[in-house]
Amino acid sequence: MTTWKQVLTDLATSRATALKRHAFLLCGNEAEAEDLVQDALVRAFSRPLRAPRLDEAEAYVRVIIANRFIDLARRRTPRQRAVARLSLSRSAIPDPADDVALRTDLAAALSALTPRQRACVVLYYYDDLSVGQVARALNCGEGTVKRTLHDARSVLQGHFSAAGTQGGDEHRA
């Protein structure tokens, strides 16, 4: 077996869960996350890698997942975006059983971000990449990453503070 096949096999067996979690944070859907991982693994090994070490290959696959997620989000048809919004608004309907927990759910907060903001947040906060590394991964400037992260933080803080305020009001009531 050639080297790239061995690395691909190792990634698919030992690192698949970590890659799926990374993809899940981006897309918020387990099935879509699996598709993203498979697609990224195939794309990563479609061309010869310079140094196909496992850790470097995994980092490369993570970058491909992030970029692929942004690409797919851009290509979504208006109908798909409308369906996503409808399903999101339906899930955001307050449920008396787990009202506060649902509103403070991070998944719901992440879904309020744009694809690029989400990719920046996942790469910076979850993958612990530096601003420069995120910029290189997403092929944009460091200033763009800083601004995107700032915007994403604002959206997330707004989401959590609104949920906290509503939860506090309900507790007070």
Partner: protein, 232 residues
Amino acid sequence: MPDFDDSLRTALRELADRVGPPHLAAGPLIRRAARRRARFAAASGFCAVAVAAAAVAVPVTLRAHPATTGQGLSGSPVASRPWVGDFTCGEPLPPGLPPATGDGLRIAITSVTRSASGVPAVRWSLDGPGATIGPVTAGFLIVRDGTIFAAEQARPPAANAQSLSLAVESAQVYKYAPDIIEGTSGSWDAMWRQHQAYRVIIVATVWTDRGTSPIVVPVPVRLSATAVLPPG
């Protein structure tokens, strides 16, 4: 805001930890990647040649070179012509080198043969002034009506660079659906039975010293020659 950042990091990890393992099998992924690698190799080596192949596939445009016109093994003429031109595909040019030209160098196909299973082999030679001082990368295409049916690229050893044969192995023929037929032995055999006249185009990238500069500079030269595959 370090507190918020730390909270966000922790929350992201907790959210990710809820996700279970995926159902991934390495075999199908390897097969898909291998197919894409083959397509990428074919496209990167011969994308511009395909355009040129479409142009030279018309017999009227061919000009037989008197010095290199010979006979194929089966008695059909092998018309070759030196082709010096503007192929921009193949070996990437190192930066800082002058544009590729082919002053004085010629490439000629000397024979086209086929094995018992129908696998073609092409022998060619380089001649002309200027020493060949670098690696020669050669590839050949089997073309009909502007469609590439098979392609192979190889780097022969330097000792044998002036005259060599390249044989398309069935495993090395790139499948480029729907334009390239998969090169199994069976399909080769069927291909030759169905169509008798295929054109062979050979493309070589040669590093040579053109000698027009007081400083000896290796000049990459791209050459091409065409021939008609003899009927079998």
